[in-house]
Structures are given as structure tokens and as C-alpha cells.
């Protein structure tokens, strides 16, 4: 398939050049995805699909555009590419638009990232059903259960990219995820619900299906009899799973595009001590079996380990070639890979004990942040922390503040990294946080 994809991509480059493009980048991608969902003792949904696509980036007369199609029939492809070049020519010239310079392709790591497990392509229907049944059994006999759904999601992905200025690269990966979503009867008409899924490029590294379902069940059981929490200023412990998405929000505008557009509170922070010295974030694209590992980024730039924040000092932003040129910033990479958040030496229980009293956040519900100012407000579910332990479950609460200030008050980090996210974060502890509830 790789050879075929390479030929198709090279062909797209040729026809675009013939149609008048100065420079062109073409990517052919192929994927197979299988879904098994099993609910309350019976198979509910089976989805088995293969998909393909072509994406091109066209540079013509100082102009730029990008296009994608799933229709790869040769006669239509030619028309598609010609139209893409015509659209490009109708735009306005932009001095900052140019194809990624070849020097940024250089230094590509040859490390084996181990992103392909050949066993994934061979997963049988029986194996998927066996996982589903193992998951289903865990919650189906619980006396409060209303519904339990087991899900198995696996597949393979491959892409090949070539450019008219010498780039050539391929990606291949597999994935296998499974887990459980459980709803239990709670007070009145209320239902308690939660889910837990695990995944990896490699099947062998996953915990057993029944242990995953058990984690999901324990999470839901801990939600029973949840009440509205208080309006209070308190210490906040964010569990490692919820921390990954909070780190995502923090880094949302940490890129050249937002900075250049005047929409980022990260502007001017490189070299500054902007956050608590407990905060370290490293972007590492070269982790073996990492969920976002890669040898090169979307622009073909060779992947490198990049510190974003070290002990509270901002070291680098995500800078792509276009906005970097426009903002006068040195190019790093425009898109995040795996993000490693610095860990401390305490376990979750030790963090709880050290806090004594506060709010333990286990998941978010909605909310948002303003990229320009960093002001945020998020809904949450979790528990009160009482006497250094996990106390009563609470919900219907918001946490409100400013992201830069909040991460200035990062007091402790745990040693309990949540592994099923490309953002690998431990639990995080913040002081003096505004909660609103009853």
C-alpha cells in the first residue's frame, strides 16, 4: 500500500505542477476502523470501514491554499487539482506564504517509534466479542445498573507525504481502545454515570478488559448520592485524567498564530517566569508507542524534543513556518505532540493527606477560557476533600479564575501520570481557587 500511495502522491504533485502550481505538498492517507459496541448482554453495533483521501497544499505566485478529497478516480482527480490551483490564483499574494524550507526537514530522527502492532490488523470478531463480554459482566449484575455499554475500537492508519521541494515521509500506526460506560440508578430520577477507556498502539500493553470495566464501575459508584457543592475559596486537587484537559486549555493559545493575531496571553512570555516553579511541560514527539509520537510534523518539520515551560519559565511556543515568519519568531513546530507534565514525588493519597481540606476534581463539564486574557470558568464534578481523604461526591459547581494566575498557584504535582492521553499529566494541586455552588 505504501508504494501505491507514494506513486499516487507523486502523481498529484506532477499534475499540480503541470496545472501551474509553483510548489505543492501532497498526502495520501488510508485507514481501517472497526467498532464493536455491546450493551446489556447483546452486541448492539458493529462498524467496519476503510477510508482513503488525498490532501494537497498549493503554492502559486505567492499565494496559498489547501484542499482534500475522498474521490480518487483519476479523471476527477485531475479536475480537482486544476480547480485547487485556480482557487489559489484567485487569492491575494502574501509575502509570508512559502513552502516549508528544506532545511527544516533535516535532522529527522530514525528512532523506531514502535507505533505499529501487527496484531491489531488480525484482531478477530471473537476477540472483540470476548473483550465486550468480559467488560459487560462486571457491571451487568450490579443491583443499581440501568445500562452498561462495552466498546472496542481498533484500526490502522497510514499516510504518505511528498512535496515538490524534496520532502518525502510516511506514517503508519495502529490503535486499540476498549472500555466501558455505565449508568446506575441514583436518587429520584437521577442517574449516576461515568466511563473509562484505555488504549495504545499495542494490544499487549493494555490492562485486562475486566479491570478496565471495574475501574469504570468504581468511578460510577463513587458518584452515587452526589450533591451540589459549596461556594467557597479552597485548595483544588485535579486528578491526572482531568489535569490533561486543563493543561490543554492552558496551552491552547501558546502558539505563533494566536500571538501574531493578538489573541494570546502567552505573547511576550518566552524567557519569563510566568508560572509556578512546579510547572514543567515538555513536548516530546519521540516517545516509543506514544499516542502522538511522530518523526515529522504537519509541515514536514523534523520532530524534536522541545521544552515549553521549565520550572515556571516559558522556553518555547508552538511556532509554525507561516505565523513564525509573520511574527518574526523562530520556527519550532506548529502542532503539539506528546506533552509531558513534570511530576512530583507524592502519590494521590499523599496529596490528599497534605491538602487536608479542599475540592477534588475528577471531571469537567463544559466551560471555556478566553485565549486573549486567560480568563476561564469551568463546570466540574468531584468530591470534597475532608480530613485528608476523598469525601462526599459533589457536582453542579464551577471553578473560575485566570489560567495564568491559576498555574502561578500550582503548589504540588503527583507521581500518578494518566497514560491514556497524549498529554501525560500527574494530578495537580492549586491553592486559593474560587468555586461556586450552593
Amino acid at each position: 500500500m505504501r508504494v501505491d500511495a507514494l506513486k499516487q502522491a507523486e502523481h498529484a504533485v506532477e499534475i499540480a505542477k503541470a496545472a501551474g502550481a509553483d510548489e505543492i505538498v501532497a498526502t495520501i492517507s488510508q485507514s481501517r476502523d472497526v467498532t464493536f459496541e455491546y450493551r446489556d448482554g447483546a452486541l448492539e453495533k458493529v462498524k467496519d470501514t476503510t477510508s482513503q483521501g488525498l490532501a494537497i497544499q498549493v503554492y502559486a505566485a505567492g499565494r496559498y491554499s489547501s484542499h482534500q478529497t475522498t474521490d480518487l478516480t483519476p479523471e476527477r482527480l485531475k479536475g480537482f487539482v486544476a480547480e485547487a490551483v485556480a482557487i489559489t490564483n484567485a487569492l491575494e499574494p502574501d509575502e509570508f506564504r512559502e513552502i516549508t524550507p528544506p532545511e527544516l526537514f533535516k535532522g529527522r530522527s530514525e528512532l523506531d517509534l514502535d507505533l505499529v502492532d501487527p496484531a491489531v490488523a488480525d484482531i478477530s470478531r471473537e476477540q472483540r466479542l470476548a473483550w465486550c463480554e468480559a467488560i459487560d459482566t462486571i457491571a451487568s449484575n450490579h443491583d443499581k445498573v440501568i445500562s452498561t455499554t462495552a466498546g472496542v475500537y481498533d484500526g490502522t492508519y497510514g499516510s504518505t507525504t511528498v512535496s515538490s521541494n524534496g520532502f518525502s515521509g510516511s506514517r503508519e500506526s495502529t490503535y486499540c481502545w476498549y472500555g466501558s460506560e455505565i449508568t446506575l440508578r441514583d436518587q429520584g430520577e437521577r442517574r449516576a454515570e461515568d466511563s473509562f477507556y484505555v488504549g495504545s498502539p499495542h494490544i499487549g500493553t493494555l490492562p485486562t478488559a475486566s479491570s478496565v470495566a471495574d475501574t469504570a464501575l468504581q468511578r460510577v459508584l463513587s458518584r452515587l448520592n452526589s450533591e451540589k457543592g459549596p461556594t467557597v475559596k479552597a485548595t483544588m486537587l485535579v486528578d491526572s485524567r482531568a489535569a490533561a484537559s486543563l493543561i490543554g486549555r492552558l496551552l491552547g493559545p501558546a502558539n505563533a498564530r494566536r500571538v501574531q493575531q493578538g489573541q494570546s496571553y502567552w505573547a511576550g512570555l518566552v524567557g519569563e517566569k510566568a508560572f509556578s516553579d512546579k510547572l514543567t511541560i515538555i513536548d516530546d514527539p519521540l516517545i516509543k508507542r506514544g499516542l502522538a509520537s511522530r518523526h515529522f510534523d504537519d509541515e514536514g518539520i523534523a520532530a524534536k524534543v522541545m521544552p515549553v515551560v521549565e520550572n515556571g519559565v516559558v522556553r518555547n511556543l508552538y511556532v509554525d513556518a507561516y505565523y513564525g515568519r509573520k511574527a518574526g519568531l523562530a520556527v519550532t513546530t506548529g502542532s503539539p505532540s506528546n506533552r509531558l507534565v513534570g511530576t512530583g514525588d507524592r502519590s494521590l493519597d499523599e496529596l490528599l493527606a497534605a491538602i487536608g481540606t479542599g475540592v477534588y476534581v475528577t471531571s469537567w463539564l463544559g466551560g471555556n477560557a478566553d485565549n486573549t486574557t486567560g480568563d476561564f470558568s469551568l463546570g466540574l464534578r468531584g468530591h470534597m476533600i475532608e480530613n485528608g481523604k476523598v469525601g462526599r461526591p459533589v457536582g453542579e459547581m464551577n471553578v473560575t479564575g485566570n489560567l495564568r494566575d491559576l498555574f502561578g498557584r500550582l503548589e504540588m504535582t503527583g507521581n500518578d501520570v494518566y497514560p491514556y492521553s497524549a498529554t501525560l499529566s500527574p494530578s495537580l494541586v492549586f491553592s486559593d481557587v474560587d468555586f461556586s455552588g450552593a
Partner: protein, 513 residues
Amino acid sequence: MAIKRREFLGTVAAGSAIVTMPGFLSGCGIQSATAISAAMPANPFMDWFGVDQATVARVMSELTSRGADTADLYFQHSRSNSLTLEDGIVSSANSGIAQGVGLRVVIGEQTGYAFTEDLTLPSMLAAARTASAIASGSQVVAPQQFNPLAAGNLYTTTVPWADVGVEQKLPVMKTIEQQAKSKDPAIEKVAVYWSDGDERVMIATLDGKLVTDHRPMARVTVVVTAKKGGETQTGYSNIAAREEFSWFSEDRLSAMVDEAVDRTLIQFEARRPPAGEMPVILAAGASGILLHEAIGHGMEADFNRKGTSIYSDMIGKKVAENFVTVVDQADIPRERGALNYDDEGNKAGRTVMVEQGILKSYLHDQISAKQYGLKATGSGRRESYQYAPMPRMSCTFMEDGPHTKDEIIASVDRGIICETYTNGQVQIGAGDYTFYVKNGWLVENGKVTAPIKDVNIIGNGPESLKRITMVANDARLDTGGWTCGKNGQSVPVSQGIPTVLVSNMTVGGENAG
């Protein structure tokens, strides 16, 4: 791409669903070699996809060879175009074409699904065999001929988007930018994002229907960044509809620009409200987000047939005051959430979810309708041929009530008014939901006193319905480009509401005690 989906599964809690405004960058654009207007003979859609009745019948027969209660072939061709104006020039464009057929077979609550982007007979037959594997019975009688239903007329266009070139849109975008810039010297940057598209859908069903629908969509967004002293603020506005180019009139676009500029500049004065519980007034229009989250998702019948929604056992019960009527209606001409037919080939129409305070009807697709012994409400929707349909909202709103906006404001001693929103989310089983307020106002002693910004509001669906104590007579649908996400599928929706008072909600604020 695969990683994103898994991350979604891993990090979004069970049974939750969200609605958002667009990310400014994620346009998916289009324009292609073949003009849509070119195909127009007796059966234009069949020709478009290069298939005929016999081919469709052959594939349907294969799809149902191991039995089926219902089955469908969902052919789709979508083309989209987007343009970006930043720093005074329109310097990037994107276009996309997605074409394929989704094949679905349903037995009871079981679904087998496959799709292919290769519309040749061998490839479609192979996909049909894959989808049929869920069943283990014997062949059902599949139709040999499909009966074409009359095309709907909710969003007929005279000029398809494929015929509108970059050169027509470019000057409009420039005008938007210049207008915005001229409004105030504090405005440093203006960005304009344009996206449009045409979608052609053809659905052939096991009961012999052949439904076709041509669905246009367009959205324009303006983002304003202003600086005063050392402080920077960003605000935006957008308008969206199943419309054509001529809809983007000067008046409509200047109203959008004014809105974006006002929303940006007011933030220099706006503060956070105090944290905690208080009365919340929802301004007419976009505040329909309350209905989408507090009740709409919970009324989608897939959650209810599984028993996982807080509304699962509440049909026929009194859930709100007599003056509260909540409707989901797809047949509103040209609205973003409008549909002639749903994605299972059923006529889309009006479903009254709450009638004068009584919980009346869920939103049904065919699977849930069969289970409840009811007629489907035409609420089966899907993001594309790559997905099986499920119950979804279209245009969700509350009808007018007996009060006035002024009466409502005058009745509040200390509370807030919510005016613009970015996103919301709901927890289906617990009924807890949230929405994020970008702009609003403080109300003190019955008067609007000061601007507020950036607060999340959280409540519980059934409790909030009970707490709707006043409903004004100024209902309107919002024209913003709302997108609803559920189980990894996004669909365009509309929402609306009159001015409403909810007597108590939890407001995310500062200076908690």
C-alpha cells in the same frame, strides 16, 4: 485523526453531549471541477452518484441477505469552501470533497454499518456484506424499484455555492474588515472567516423510498481584537444559514460587524460577577442554548430507550409552568438546523417536547420509534456517510410566554442577564448541564447596571425547567453558526428562546467566600 477520536472517548465522561460555536480555523471548504448545476436530467441524483435503480436494488438485496428490520443506503456528496482574511488580505483558502455511501442494516436494537468511498458495484457489495454480518437470519424481500419522494423546498437556491467564485466573496470579506476597523481606534486586528458548501444526499430505504435532498450551508465570522492601555480583548460574531450568496446583504453583514465590535469593546469595562446561586435572566435568541442542554439532549430517544436519561420515566409528567412550551422543529425555511428529510429518509417536522408544562414527546429515530410503538419524528441525523444516524435536534426553541422583557428585569433584585455564549454541555443521566457566557449584564434592584464576562453557568435540567418563573413574548431564533456534537458526530443546529427568568442557577464568579 484516530488519536483525536480515542482521546474524546477517553476524556469525555459518559453520556455527555456538547454544543459549540465554530473554532475560527476549522473551515472545510470546497469547490470542485464539476459544477453541481451541471447535473439535471430525469434522475439527477442517481446520475450524480453514477448509479441506477438496478444497482441500488442489487446492493440493498445484498445488505439485507441475512435479515433486517430496516436498512438504508445513504449516498452523499459534499463540497465545502473556506477563505481566511487576516492582516488585511485574503491569503488562504481551503476546499474539500467528501463522497461515499453508508450502508446500514438494523435488527431490533442492533446495527451493522459500513461505508465505501468507491461507488462501483463490487465495492458497494463488499461493504454491504460487511454491514450485513451483524444479522444471522434469512433474506428479507428487498425492493426492486425505489419510489422517489417529492424534493423539499425549505432551502432551494438559485445559484449553488459551487458557482460562486473566490472573486465574488473576496470583496465582501474586505468590506467586512474595513467596516470593523473603522468603528473604533482601539481596534488593532480584524479577521474574517468565510465558509460555504453544498451537500447532495440520496437515501434508498428497505421500504422502497428514494429520498433526495440538496443542502446548502454558509457561515461568515468576524473576529475583532482591540487594545486599550496594556489590555487586549477579543470578541466575535457570526451568521449562518442554509442560504445562498445573495443572503449576505450589506445590512445583515453590518449588523454582524456592529455586534462583534460591541462585544469586544464592552469587555474592557466588564467584570466577573460574584460567585454562587442567583436568578438568571436569559436574553432572547442565543439563550436557546439552555433548552438544547437542559432538556433537548435528554429528550433524544436513544438515551431514553436505554434508560440512561434523567427524562426516561417522565413522559406525561408536569415538568414546568403552564406557559412553558418547548419545540424542536426542522421545517423552518433556511435555518441552519433546517432539514426537508432526516438522514433516514423520513419527513422532518415539528415535535413538541414540552407542551404547556407537560413533557410530551422524545425525539425519535426509527430504532427508538419501533421500540416505543410510535412514528419516528424525523429526528434521525448523521454527520456524514461515515456514520450511522441517531436522534438529534434540529431547531430547538421555546414559544412566547405571557410576560415582557421589562417586567422580567424589573422583578430581579440581584442577578445577571446572559446574552452571548460560546458552548454548552450536558450530563445525560444526572441532568447537570452548563453553558459558557461570554457577555452579559449585572442586574441590581430591577435595573441593568454593569457588564459581565466569561462565566460558566451550571444547573440541573428538570430543576431548571421548574424554575422558569417568567417567559416573555419576544421569542426569536439565533442566526449564529451552532454545531452540536454527540458520540463523535457533529451536526448543524439552531436554537432560540424568548427572554426568560430562571429563578436560581449557579454562576461561576469570583470572590467566593
